[in-house]
Amino acid sequence: MKTRIPYVIAAALAGALLAGCGEQPQVASYKDGKYSGKPDTRPWEAGTFKGDKGAWEQALRTRIRSQNEYKRVE
């Protein structure tokens, strides 16, 4: 029994010293999430413009520019 003690201590010591070798980095890395909801239709695809992207853009551009009242009154 007595003869085994040094071996047991040596094995425990070796195990303790080598424990660090198996350590994995624990820094959290951020990953961008991926949208998990339902797909959306684009604004010009359904309803008023029926897929006519050009007409939709023109309608919106007219409204955006009409916000400049200097252009409207001059």
């Binding site: 413009f49 955006i64 520019r65």
Partner: protein, 201 residues
């Protein structure tokens, strides 16, 4: 079409809350939820400024980054929207948002009891069929699909609140600033709307 943005001209905002009322009425937003509100700094002091605030549809939106269920998405026009079906009402988006845009129908309740998050959609609805009743019930009216701008901006009586393609509204604002031609200490109607052509000569 580029990236859709709001721009509020603090020189022109008269704190009428017309934008807030227009938004609530157009989308039939429930009591306690304010997708848009007007904030006034130095209220009552000469030189006070008001600004209309809602979701700013951030280019790098923090709400999108923190959402644990990944229900946020960005449209091709840069509008930040979300799918209410997957929202668990955790409130992380509210904590992340620097503008306080995310709103909860049940107020500051416990985790999960707040209800599904509601915010400004830039009048672009959500992931339901464009113009459908389901879209209206969950997200409000989809004016963008009708070729219109958000009602808050279109209703603004002083045109303080501008909405639309960022390059276009920047041009409008730049034009205004050039006409004003003033020092920083100036304040009042002549500053907000510029001088007469005769006076400016």
């Amino acid at each position: 079409m580029g990236r859709m943005k709001f721009l509020c001209d603090a020189e022109r905002c008269i704190e009428c809350n017309g934008c807030v009322t227009a938004c609530k009425n157009e989308h039939e937003v429930p009591w306690g939820v304010n997708r848009r509100r007007v904030v006034t700094m130095n209220d009552g002091v000469p030189g006070e400024r008001s600004i209309s605030v809602a979701c700013m549809h951030c280019s790098d939106a923090p709400c999108m980054a923190v959402c644990p269920t990944n229900v946020f998405y960005k449209t091709e026009e840069g509008i930040v929207l979300h799918d209410k079906d997957g929202c668990i009402g955790c409130g992380y988006c509210f904590y992340a948002c620097p503008f306080g845009a995310p709103q909860f129908p049940n107020g500051p309740a416990a985790f999960g009891a707040r209800g599904k998050m509601d915010k400004c959609t830039f009048c672009a609805g959500g992931p339901e069929e464009n113009g459908s009743q389901a879209e209206f019930d969950k997200y409000g009216r989809n004016r963008i699909a009708e070729g219109k701008l958000p009602l808050c901006a279109e209703m603004c009586s002083t045109k303080a609140l501008l909405a639309g393609d960022s390059a276009e509204i920047s041009d409008i604002f730049r034009d205004r600033v050039l006409r004003r031609g003033k020092g920083v200490e100036a304040w009042g109607w002549m500053t907000a709307y510029g001088k007469d052509k005769e006076e400016a000569k």
